[in-house]
């Protein structure tokens, strides 16, 4: 038996929205400690990892680990019917083939329940190497979203270079070039405006803007985003969900040919 009640139901809606453009089908892996999702996109260029700890729920019970195979587009359709202040309850039998979702409104006494058919998804859990990163950037998620959106008009590939002065996002395309430099300002008045750069050595990597744009779908989950880079390995773009979990995107870099 799996049962979990999330007062802040909209968080789950946002999680589904943040992965549905990348991932078509995936498993909701439920364990005693957390609900997690891990999946690669169909092109196997990026990987998304989601974690929502049991602490995020005001009631959480999972008798044995259970993988609930869902279609993200269908899940998203159901969550479209969720009001922003609704509470969500998940229920699934251990050997069941459906996930029950219960939406309870706060103001009135409406209760909506849905049953989503589950499917068997053959997915091999992959180990993500726990490498220390040479650069970590913490910046406002809205700012990152805007930069990615703006630079997309110029080209397909974005060079992210992290140096002492700040983080530079550059694009070279057919119509011209563009550079956006975000300077570190650890002393900003409001915490959510802070740009903090923790750097061991400068790193410069190239990424497909199309994917970065998919990642910014998670912007509403968090005020700030953490970007971690090391040479020649995938970047990690993390949107923390308060203290309970995260949505992390891994994207393999583009490399110069020969």
């Amino acid at each position: 038996m799996f049962e979990a009640r999330l007062t802040n139901g909209v968080t789950m809606k946002q999680i589904i929205e943040s992965i549905k453009d990348l991932v078509k089908d995936c498993n909701l892996d439920c364990s005693e400690e957390e609900i997690s999702i891990q999946s690669m996109d169909s092109a196997h260029v990026s990987l998304v990892a989601v974690r929502l700890g049991a602490g995020a729920f005001d009631h959480y019970r999972c008798d044995r680990p259970n993988a609930l195979g869902i279609n993200t587009a269908n899940m998203s359709k159901i969550f479209k019917m969720l009001n922003n202040d609704d509470t969500v309850t998940f229920k699934a039998e251990d050997e069941g083939d459906a996930l029950t979702l219960l939406f309870e409104g706060q103001k009135n006494d409406t209760i909506a329940d849905f049953e989503l058919k589950l499917m068997d998804i053959d997915y091999e859990q992959l180990g993500i190497p726990d490498t220390p990163y040479k650069c970590s950037i913490k910046m406002p998620s809205r700012e990152f979203e805007r930069i990615v959106r703006d630079l997309q008009v110029l080209g397909d590939t974005c060079t992210i270079s992290c140096g002492k002065e700040g983080v530079r996002f550059s694009v070279t395309g057919n119509i011209g070039t563009g550079n956006i430099l975000t300077r570190a300002n650890a002393s900003a008045e409001k915490e959510k405006d802070q740009v903090i750069i923790d750097m061991e050595e400068p790193v410069e990597l190239n990424f497909a803007l199309r994917y970065l744009n998919f990642f910014t779908k998670a912007t509403s989950l968090s005020d700030h985003v953490m970007i971690s880079m090391s040479p020649e390995v995938p970047v990690v773009i993390e949107y923390p969900i308060q203290d309970y979990g995260y949505v992390k995107y891994y994207l393999a870099p583009k490399i110069e040919e020969e």
Binding site: H44, T172, V233, E256
Partner: protein
């Protein structure tokens, strides 16, 4: 009709000539490739078949041109010191094969070797032919002939990682020497007309064949009898290959008035310019990889040479800035899946293991 044991039927000669090509496998794995002939009659008949245009169809698209190793003279078989000379013909030609020749004999019979050998380019065609006949009939001289087809040369040079003419030349020389050693000959000294830098070429050969003394010089064919003999083999074979060439494209009535085959020859230039097909370019008698040919096609207008778009080139264009998107799998542990070729991915083709649904 002769009933001599050593005679060989035309059909047998053709079949044997066919087997001297190595189209599907690397020559080192083709035991028949460059296996010595058994007697003089066979050598002559097979050589004749080759020079008259015997060529398996697959040789036009893959593999290696023919390698002929003559019957081995008794004196060389028993000799403890065999000297060999190597030379080439048709290297700079834009048409036809490049032919490598080797001639060898036992050091003990050197005085029996005809004195007439000299740089084959300085000899008249008649003298050369006469010398070649002498060489074929001579009981103490053995030879080896390797022909690199024009299609083979083009293929090698136009590969994504080009295999250039110098390397092909070096490899041909080494292949011939290897076959002589395989045939049990105790080759001790080799005179080679150089291709590229003589010193590095010699070092390369010495590395491959310890125990053989190499003399690598330019114009070696004018200085050493074995090298001259080799150059006669190469040059005469090349000339006969040219005149006996069977064009693959039989539908087209191709004139044979191609001159020397060298691009500086106006006859040759006029010949291939007249032949140009808007889609296929030229027939496979022409070395596509040669600069004058590439230039001619590049400079032709749309009517004389149509532009062809290749999917692979389009794919390259998609990767702006020549950057390759890396896959995620290689960074993760426990992943065995490898990325499919882009061709399949773009067409969303997948592997079907069961035909019933």
């Amino acid at each position: 009709m002769t009933t001599d044991d050593s005679s060989i039927s035309t059909q047998m000669a053709k079949d044997l000539a066919d087997s001297l090509y190595s189209c599907e496998k690397h020559p080192l794995f083709s035991p028949k490739y460059g296996a010595p002939m058994t007697n003089k009659a066979e050598t002559k008949a097979v050589l004749n078949a080759l020079l008259n245009g015997i060529r398996p169809a697959s040789a036009n698209v893959a593999g290696y041109g023919p390698l002929l190793l003559s019957d081995i003279p008794d004196s060389a078989k028993e000799s403890k010191v065999v000297v060999v000379g190597v030379d080439e013909a048709g290297r700079g030609s834009v048409l036809g094969p490049m032919v490598y020749g080797a001639a060898y004999w036992s050091a003990s019979v050197e005085e029996k070797i005809p004195k007439g050998f000299n740089d084959s380019k300085q000899l008249t065609e008649q003298t050369r032919d006469k010398l070649f006949d002498q060489l074929l009939d001579h009981e103490d001289i053995g030879f080896c002939m390797r022909s690199l087809l024009p299609s083979e040369i083009s293929r090698n040079m136009l590969r994504s990682k080009p295999y250039n003419l110098n390397e092909m030349s070096h490899d041909s020389t080494m292949l011939m020497i290897r076959k002589l050693l395989d045939a049990g000959l105790k080759v001790k000294k080799a005179f080679i007309d150089t291709v590229g830098n003589a010193y590095t070429y010699r070092r390369k050969l010495e590395g491959q064949f310890p125990g053989i003394e190499f003399v690598v010089e330019s114009k070696a064919d004018a200085k050493y009898a074995s090298c001259s003999a080799a150059s006669v083999v190469a040059k005469v074979s090349r000339d006969k290959f040219m005149s006996g060439w069977k064009f693959t494209d039989e539908l087209q009535d191709v004139s044979r008035d191609f001159g020397s085959g060298y691009p500086s020859d106006p006859k040759c230039k006029a010949w291939f310019e007249k032949l140009q097909d808007p889609l296929f370019g030229y027939n496979d008698f022409v070395r596509f990889s040669w600069a004058p040919i590439k230039k001619k096609i590049a400079e032709s207008d749309e009517e004389a040479a149509v532009n062809v778009l290749f999917q692979a080139d389009l794919d390259d264009d998609e990767n702006d800035l020549k950057q390759e998107q890396q896959g995620m799998s290689s960074f993760l542990s426990g992943s065995k899946k490898h990325k499919r070729a882009r061709y399949f991915e773009q067409r969303t083709l997948s592997v079907v293991t069961s035909l019933s649904s």
